[in-house]
């Protein structure tokens, strides 16, 4: 496949690895924000090939991992109601709530459907006028434009039986929260390439300057990932802290402005709690008042939500890059992809599932 195969070429990978090894002169800590990149590093075995001086820590960029437990329990309560078709991206189904998950509701005969695109949920609403169709609108800046467009389309089609349970999060406030933390070790970031394809990378300039960290926009294939690392290491070695784009074929400085305008027309910045991490001010998007008719939280009264996390799970420390999965006492024992205690063991973007899949127990 064009734009993929040439970025997996072993010769290019080897040369980039050699170049990284000759450039790095002392221990350095880089964080890849995006869980998709974590999986790509481990899937291609790059983590074992990088020099020992480089400590690559995994960031919070796993959408289902950071969706707050309250919101998952609320989703479960709505999905349990009669006459509801609850729709979600597939990754969310096995994420544990306090008592169960969406998959368990579906196994009991509940109407929980996986959609690939949020427009499928809109079509479901149009085709089932006697049912309430709810879409779980989660994710970072990559899913916000599709989810916003689904809401606009439902409005345009006059659908009264469509609503969304919103739990959107944004990358830049999370980076600032990480860098402001007293136990921060991160010296440079690989910025999530696809988030930047939507948002551009102008927002990162102030962060790089304020916190003195290199930020390199990075893609997902082995060559892309290693180019991102090399650029960040070169900056650290020469004392620079700038924003650089190492994913030029997909990302421009301003990003997709049409997508940004659509996000702004449907959503507005709100405080958001991140599962395992806590509240980060203005780190999320919520529905604008003019779209309140589509707000599933207002449409369905589900009573008080009382949450309880697993006492064994250290997902918060994993998501902050403070620990790696094998340092968790439950990893591979009480917690596995078959019996997950926390979301990072479930998700295709979660660090725990990446370690379990590619490094075993």
């Amino acid at each position: 496949m064009k734009y993929i195969d040439e970025y997996r070429d072993p010769i290019k990978v080897k040369h980039l690895l050699d170049e990284i090894a000759t450039t790095i002169t002392q221990p350095r800590v880089l964080m890849e924000i995006c869980g998709g990149q974590t999986h790509s590093f481990l899937h291609h075995g790059l983590d074992d090939m990088l020099p020992q001086e480089l400590d690559l820590v995994h960031g919070p960029g796993c959408p289902v991992c950071v969706t707050p437990l309250e919101q998952i329990d609320r989703a479960l309560a709505i999905a349990n109601q009669p006459n509801v078709i609850f729709t979600s991206y597939g990754d969310m189904l096995r994420v544990p709530g306090t008592r169960e998950n969406l998959f368990a509701i579906r196994a009991r005969g509940g109407n929980v459907k996986v959609v690939y695109s949020p427009l499928e949920a809109v079509d479901l609403a149009a085709n089932n006028p006697d049912k309430q169709v709810v879409f779980f609108a989660i994710g970072f800046e990559t899913t916000a434009p599709p989810n916003a467009m689904a809401i606009l389309q439902a409005k345009q089609r006059g659908l009264k039986n469509f609503s969304v349970l919103v739990s959107h999060v944004r990358v830049p406030p999370a980076m600032k929260a990480l860098l402001s933390s007293t136990n921060n070790r991160v010296q440079g970031f690989l910025a999530a390439g696809h988030v930047c394809a939507v948002m551009g990378y102008h927002e990162y300039i102030a962060i790089a300057r304020e916190y003195r960290v290199p930020i390199v926009v990075t893609g997902f294939e082995p060559v892309d990932l290693l180019r991102g690392i090399l650029a960040a290491i070169r900056q650290l070695e020469s004392g620079k802290a700038e924003v650089e784009n190492a994913y030029e074929r997909a990302v421009t400085f301003h990003g997709n402005q049409l997508a940004q305008e659509t996000i702004q027309s449907v959503f507005m910045p709100v405080d958001r709690k991140w599962r395992g991490i806590g509240l980060i001010p203005m780190s999320g998007w919520g529905l604008r008042p003019e779209f309140e008719d589509f707000d599933a939280e207002a449409r369905f009264a589900v009573g008080e939500i009382v949450t309880q996390e697993s006492p064994l799970c250290i997902a918060g420390e994993i998501l902050l890059g403070l620990k790696v999965p094998p340092q968790c006492s439950a990893y591979g024992k009480q917690c596995s992809p078959q019996t997950p205690l926390g979301a990072p063991m479930v998700s295709s973007e979660g660090a725990c599932s990446a370690y379990y899949q590619y490094h075993g127990k």
């Binding site: 734009y3 690939y116 599709p146």
Partner: protein
């Protein structure tokens, strides 16, 4: 969810007043919303997330990237020979 993949646009049309298209992912054809890339043409490669094209691949930039890496490879091979 953020792991978008590039595919080749094979068809462009409207559905429910929204710009849609067919995209070929190495033989798997899917219907994709093209509303965010209205400049797309048949034959372009688009980066697709959850059923939406969010950016078009820039062929010139891709060629430039591969040239940069080739230069790195050439340089180190030449250096290694000396």
């Amino acid at each position: 969810m953020c792991l978008g993949i590039p595919g080749k646009i094979t068809e462009i049309y409207e559905r429910n007043d929204f710009l849609m298209g067919k995209i070929d992912f190495s033989g798997v054809i899917k219907e994709i919303c093209l509303a965010y890339v209205p400049e797309a043409k048949v034959g372009d490669y688009a980066l697709v997330h959850v059923g939406f094209a969010i950016s078009l691949m820039d062929e010139d930039e891709a060629t430039e990237t591969l040239k940069l890496i080739r230069d790195l490879v050439d340089f180190s091979e030449e250096f290694g020979d000396q």
